[in-house]
């Protein structure tokens, strides 16, 4: 089963690489990511499968907005004309030599990648201990929010930086757009009605994922993206850009501070281990839940800003 799906993934990846048109490349990439996430599911990691599926949808949205101008033929033709301006390289140097080199490196790599059993030391240690040390039932969440919360802080920081970077790199300083460029699709009544039904489901589902994060697959990141997805639906319905981006941005930074403070107080300072034994499980579950919720809100706000930034301002 795994073999066949892996082959599917390989086919999709090959087509990402050899496809000429940008839209098709994006479509293939989306497909490739989704098949990859099925592979993750079969490898026993539903958490990551969820993360990859949500992430790939968001990456597709970013790519679609960002590369929208290069979808049609005329731009591609212009691009080809540009290419002629530079002196022509010969085919051997451009395609065949790199192909030979890449295949050579691949063969070398596989030659040295000797199959060997995994050393299970850390895995067994964590699987044996995580219910006592961190609590919860999901080992992945336990590592993500417990043993390696130090990494998670930097990951959250990276999202803050990404938002700052997107605002800074863009040429536009505007943060509030009342009447942006509307999408050309005159959404039909039926579509509108049905999206209206779907939108609340996404937000409920996101909250469910966050709340259940430490008990089963899912967690802050996946739930946060699902909540952000609600705002994408909102964009479909109303077609307006009236969110107070600046306030959301401040809120996001503020929540980041709370996350860091929370992690610093409970994990770094070791407060959670000081809790009396009777209340240990309760304290741990409260910690995991609150942390998941905070990360979920932070991720949701970050992605809302990114999405609105792209769709409302960068399209002009």
């Amino acid at each position: 089963m795994t073999t066949l799906i892996v082959i599917l993934w390989l086919v999709c990846s090959v087509f990402v690489i050899f496809e000429k048109k940008i839209v098709r490349m994006i479509l293939w990439l989306f497909l490739s990511s989704i098949i990859a996430s099925i592979i993750y599911l079969l490898l026993g990691s539903p958490d990551l499968a969820m993360a990859e599926a949500t992430a790939s949808a968001f990456v597709t949205i970013i790519f679609v907005i960002g590369f929208e101008k290069f979808f049609n033929l005329r731009d591609m033709k212009k691009y080809l004309k540009d290419e002629k301006e530079i002196e022509k390289e010969n085919k051997f140097k451009r395609y065949i030599l790199p192909a030979i080199i890449s295949i050579g490196i691949l063969v070398l790599f596989i030659n040295f990648a000797i199959p060997v059993e995994q050393n299970d030391y850390l895995k067994n240690l964590i699987l044996d201990r995580f219910t006592i040390d961190i609590g919860g039932e999901n080992a992945v969440t336990a590592i993500y929010l417990g043993y390696r919360v130090y990494d998670t802080i930097f990951e959250a920081l990276l999202l803050v930086i990404a938002v700052v970077a997107v605002v800074h790199m863009s040429n536009f300083d505007i943060t509030k757009v009342n009447d942006g460029k509307h999408s050309e699709l005159e959404t039909s009544g039926m579509a509108l009605f049905l999206v209206r039904i779907v939108a609340p489901i996404t937000i409920i589902f996101g909250v469910y994922l966050i709340a259940n994060g430490f008990l089963s697959a899912g967690g802050g990141f996946q739930g946060g993206l699902a909540i952000a997805c609600f705002f994408v639906c909102r964009f479909f319905i109303y077609d307006i850009y009236d969110l107070p981006i600046k306030k959301i941005n401040r809120l996001e930074d503020f929540i980041f501070i709370i996350i860091v403070a929370m992690a610093a107080l409970t994990i770094f300072a070791g407060l959670i281990q000081q809790v009396p034994y009777r209340f240990m499980t309760l304290a741990q579950e409260i910690y995991l839940f609150v942390m998941n919720a905070l990360i979920g809100i932070k991720v949701a706000l970050g992605f809302i800003i990114l999405f609105y930034r792209y769709v409302a301002i960068e399209r002009n």
Partner: protein
Amino acid sequence: MSNVELVSIIVFFLAFYALVTNRNIIRTIIFSSLMEVSVITFWLSIGFRERLNPPILYTMADYEHIYTADPVTQALMLTAVVIGIAVTAIKTIMFITLYRKYKTTDWDLARIRKTEG
């Protein structure tokens, strides 16, 4: 070497080949995303066995954890996925701004226009 590992390495070097041969900035961005996916797949294939159970308490059937997936790699790759999205967003916005300035999607042409001023 499991199939998953083999194919993820093949995809890694396919993306490498594509990065080396193409001249288009958009493609470079898309291929580097593909590279990230392949590396994540490789990491998950580290403890490969047929029919692994998720590392969630009530699905873990055995106490020696032989048929339980490794939670460490999963948690690490969750971080890597988020980093991947953040980097992708930044790359895309940089490309958009670059296009506005130099009116090209070509690496070499952008360089020429940069030196021209």
